[in-house]
Amino acid sequence: MSALLSVEDLAVNYGHIEAVKGIGFELEAGEITALVGANGAGKSTTLLALSGLLRPARGRVLFDGEDVTRLKPHQIVRRGLVQVAEGRAILATLSVRENLALGAYARRDPAGVAASLEEVFHLFPRLEERLEQKAGNLSGGEQQMLAIGRAMMAKPRLLLLDEPSMGLAPLLVQDIFRTLVAINRTGLTVLLVEQNVRQALRIARRGFVLETGRIVLEGSGDQLLGDPRVVEAYLGG
């Protein structure tokens, strides 16, 4: 086992607020890791910094041994660190097909892109049915499928997901999480940020609990699910 991503003493300011106060963690290749915590704990801020959308005040991010802390967002994507942003950030004015095509924007291997498209259709048959529709006309669940499918088109080595369950009906949430497990089984490393703590820790091998910008607990998914502090704070006693 080797760490695909190491985060060292990462601190990020959001405006004048220090939203992330020096956190460190590692992601093992091939695992699902969950970063959980309440609203405002600094989870999304952490992900934005990993993708280069926020500049850290201090600390380092190493992706597969390379320091990516100061790289621009598109350069980070091109290294295989791909994020599905919060709130189903699909391009509403573009068709499903165009969204998926843009997922592969940085790739130069047409055969590989075609194969990825087949895989995405296999994961989400609904997307194939709606290929020519405007993404903005899809249902919430379909938009989340598109957001994940589009990220898969980039052939990521690490997939970051920011609240994929947000705003979705419970059955759809289960679907999405099942898909994440299936994607992970193909060898893809996943970092899942969730407020839906129970679901996230169930599928995660390891988890970190973030509170007001600091990691306060870490352990295996099962350990955390059984930890009285987690139960009390996040799982409703």
């Binding site: 621009k72 967002p73 598109h74 791909v82 950030a89 391009l91 509403a92 165009e98 924007y105 940085a106």
Partner: protein
Amino acid sequence: MFTQQLLNALTLGSVYALFALGFTLVFGVLAVINLSHGAVFMVGSYAALTLVTRLHLPLGIALPAAMALSGCLGMAIDVLILKPLRARNAPHLIPMIATIGVAIMLSSAAQGIFGAEILRFPEGTIPAGEFTLGEVHVRALELSIVGISFGLMAVLFLAIRRTQLGRALRAIAESPRSASLLGINVEGLFHATSFVAAALGGVAGVLIGLNFNAITPLMGQPILHKGIAVIILGGMGDIRGALLAGLFLGFAEVMSKAYLSSQMGDAVAFGLLFLILLVRPSGLFGRVLERKA
């Protein structure tokens, strides 16, 4: 008589559309109202004139060269002025004001270098051929202007609809942040868009310079006003809208000059625009779209 005016209107309208296309492209992708677009138009015109008079280049070379030079100017404006403003998250009004400054700088520089008087292309530069089609008198020049304008617009339209680069531009227009998470080099495409838009503006300047055979340091001002009217009428950032509204403005201007009052052409044309906006406040193709961060 009427068909003759139709041809004049088509010529003028196609150049308006070409000019407005660059203008609306920058607005759509960079979210900036670039008020130096008229000055770039003027620079394109002087560039072609200088290449013809000083370097004795034929128009067929001077035109694309002036287009490329205007493009470089547009990119320089983006890199030197708009980019630093983006980097510090300047509010929307600031880049717009900055581009007014650029426009003033460029036209006063042109006045310093070329003088304030009207300059003309030397005799023999402009294609002189003409023929009669029924009762319509067609100049080869007009035909070339319409052909070049529509040709360039068609290329741009297809590029934006059908290519991966065009999809990337539409992604940026919707959300620069989402675009960057797809691996799109947003800053790079801002520069490229500025180049293309200014190249279109510059070529429009050359075509208008040829059509009226009159080049002055202030020629960018009236066309800028028309460009603003066209992109508002077409729906801000909408390419089809800019095309239709540009043609419409050309028709309105030529027809009102021909049949109502030769002095009041602009007043009538702009009055019509105003009326249309009363009925359709967001323009012909306008959608109210909130841009995401």
